[in-house]
């Protein structure tokens, strides 16, 4: 009996309360929303901190590289010792016992047999007019049993007791082969893209209000840089890249307006442009009617041609190219994906073109290219960059958007 009574109590309460609903106070959601906003700020701060840390590391690393570069350059000159002439293509190991070397273009090489040529990367050149100076070999590449010398930077060398060397700074370039000045770098860059909006619709809701709803997600670009080395320090870079910037717009209301053909359609505004959604109902809407749009996915694709002037700093196997320039951007596609729902309108999925966008625009680019040379031809590149458009990407309207992005790219350089 007791057990039955207990079961009755249990069942009575379970049946009454299991599916019972009690409205919480509005305050609960407000508190939750506050916490969620704090969470998002925390995430943004963490991401920003990571980015700043990376940028700082890069700056510090660049600073150290520059400092070391100058330190080495102003270091006490190498004292030459009795040297031994080596004719072109004479295998070095026969003399030094270290490495087999053939030299492509320098007329004659004089080296120190007792030193490890590769580890020191120092070599002495005999210039055709019989002026001797010391060269610092950059990027000697060991290929099988051969070392290929592509670029030679000459250092200032003092006279030694054993060997008379003229005190002057010479730079040897392989002028015979123009191809050696060229390299190309295919790369892929992960980017954070954003938009600086300018509101021309201060009274309406088609301006900067949209920016609040828009959330940027993964964007990227891939392409290739063609590098032309003008001289020891300067490089001109150009090429082509394909970039895609994605973003989400929170669900919102779209209002019925007349489109450019006079049809009444729902207009979906975004930061970058707008799209028309054909009503899903049989009865056409009136101007001003609204419909709910679910989360809207926006994709913008551009083909970009950059022109960048970079300054080179070399340090053993590393080199850093820091530069800036302009970009010419050609819009290849712009799409909006969304879904509508609302009273009187059946659910419908849309994929529509983004309208109100300029076909082309100009931008600026700041980039660094930290390169690690695996050998004389191949290098691995880390390419942080910042891009911004010089003008709005959209045609005159309620909102002008100036996109910008920070990117971290990885690439591989190949010298011809």
């Amino acid at each position: 009996m007791g057990e039955n009574l207990h079961n009755h109590v249990d069942n009575r309460l379970r049946e009454s309360l299991l599916l019972h609903k009690t409205n919480p106070s509005e305050n609960v959601w407000n508190k939750i929303e506050d916490e969620l906003e704090k969470d998002e700020k925390r995430i943004t701060i963490i991401r920003s901190t990571r980015f700043v840390t990376l940028a700082l590391c890069l700056i510090i690393f660049s600073g150290i590289s520059i400092f070391r570069y100058w330190s080495v350059k102003n270091d006490k000159p190498y004292i030459a010792r009795p040297l031994q002439n080596i004719s072109i293509k004479t295998p070095l190991h026969n003399i030094s016992g270290k490495t087999v070397v053939s030299v492509k273009n320098p007329p004659t090489i004089i080296t120190k047999p007792e030193k490890n040529l590769i580890s020191k990367q120092n070599i002495l050149l005999e210039i055709p007019d019989e002026e001797y100076t010391m060269a610092n070999l950059h990027f000697p590449a060991v290929q099988g049993n051969e070392m290929e010398i592509n670029r030679i930077h000459m250092n200032q060398v003092k006279q030694s007791n054993d060997f008379a060397i003229k005190e002057e700074l010479l730079i040897h370039q392989d002028k015979k082969s123009l191809g050696k000045k060229f390299s190309f770098t295919p790369y892929f860059s992960h980017e954070f893209a954003g938009y600086n909006p300018v509101d021309h619709d201060t009274r309406g809701s088609n301006g900067k209000e949209i920016d609040v709803q828009q959330r940027n997600v993964f964007s990227a670009s891939a392409g290739v840089y063609f590098n032309f080395k003008v001289n020891k320090n300067w490089t001109i870079q150009s090429g082509v890249s394909y970039s895609w910037a994605n973003s989400y717009l929170d669900s919102s209301k779209s209002y019925a307006v007349k489109d450019y053909e006079g049809n009444i359609q729902f207009k979906l505004n975004t930061n970058t442009g707008y799209g028309y959604l054909k009503p899903s109902s049989v009865v056409p809407p009136n101007i001003g009617d609204s419909i709910l749009t679910a989360k809207t996915y926006s994709q913008l694709h551009y083909l970009t041609i950059p022109l960048v002037l970079s300054y080179n700093i070399s340090m053993k196997r590393f080199s850093l190219m820091v530069g800036g320039g302009v970009t010419f951007n050609i819009k290849t596609s712009g799409m909006l994906e969304t879904e509508t729902y609302g009273p009187g309108y059946p659910e419908k999925e849309y994929t529509v073109n983004i309208l109100g966008l300029k076909k082309t625009n100009f931008g600026m680019i700041l980039k660094a290219d930290l390169q690690y040379h695996i050998n004389s031809r191949i290098g691995i590149d880390l390419i942080p960059s910042f891009k911004n458009t010089l003008g709005p990407i959209n045609l005159p309207g309620a909102l002008s958007a100036y996109p910008y992005n920070f990117g971290i790219g990885l690439g591989v350089s190949y010298r011809l």
């Binding site: 599916l19 019972h20 609903k21 409205n23 305050n27 609960v28 508190k31 989360k295």
Partner: protein, 189 residues
């Protein structure tokens, strides 16, 4: 296809979950609107008053939004959300002082809930207040046993008590509640 006990379809629910994964505020709000009122009842049952229940609910929803990536679409979303709420209530219960836990059953409890006696039956609000008026340990055991269908062994592990204590707490809870429902029981018999 409508999700059990709600007015949204499974497809809509999946869209909302995907929205929550992308930190879309409107999706988060919609999920809250769909499940908030049922979770509120649950939180009320596990708490001693409305304020405490709202705190549990606040913690539970926040945890859900933060961990929504862990929901694998296997089983019901509501069931997963209920587990989160219950865990939050249990954490709060465990976090309280030992004194709170060891409130012994006194006549006051019977007197307190005695106010709800009614010949015409009790409404849901009164039933919730009856459960809230139970001593915390009894309330926890009763909720876990009756509403979540847990065994005493599981409850004992969750609450870090012995099986005997769990059974005893359940017995006490039922005894108090039975008194309140006595009028209704007479009618039933």
């Amino acid at each position: 296809m409508i999700v059990n006990g709600t007015d949204i379809s499974i497809r809509e629910l999946h869209i909302l979950i995907a929205g929550c994964l992308k930190k879309d505020r409107s999706s988060q709000r919609k999920i809250y609107e769909v499940y908030g009122s049922r979770m509120m009842t649950l939180c009320l049952r596990y708490s001693k008053n409305r304020e405490e229940a709202e705190e549990v609910m606040h913690d539970g929803f926040l945890q859900m939004y933060r961990c929504i990536g862990q929901f694998k679409n296997i089983g019901s979303f509501e069931g997963w959300l209920r587990r989160i709420m219950i865990n939050c209530a249990l954490q709060r219960y465990r976090g309280k002082s030992i004194q709170d836990h060891e409130v012994s059953l006194t006549e006051d409890h019977y007197l307190l809930v005695g106010e709800f006696n009614s010949d015409i039956g009790l409404n849901e609000k009164e039933m919730i207040r009856m459960i809230q008026a139970l001593p915390p340990a009894c309330r926890m055991v009763f909720n876990l046993y009756v509403f979540e269908g847990m065994k005493h062994r599981e409850i004992a592990t969750l609450l870090n008590v012995t099986e005997g204590t769990s059974k005893s707490n359940l017995y006490d809870a039922r005894s108090i509640l039975m008194k309140q429902l006595s009028a209704e029981l007479k009618i039933a018999r």
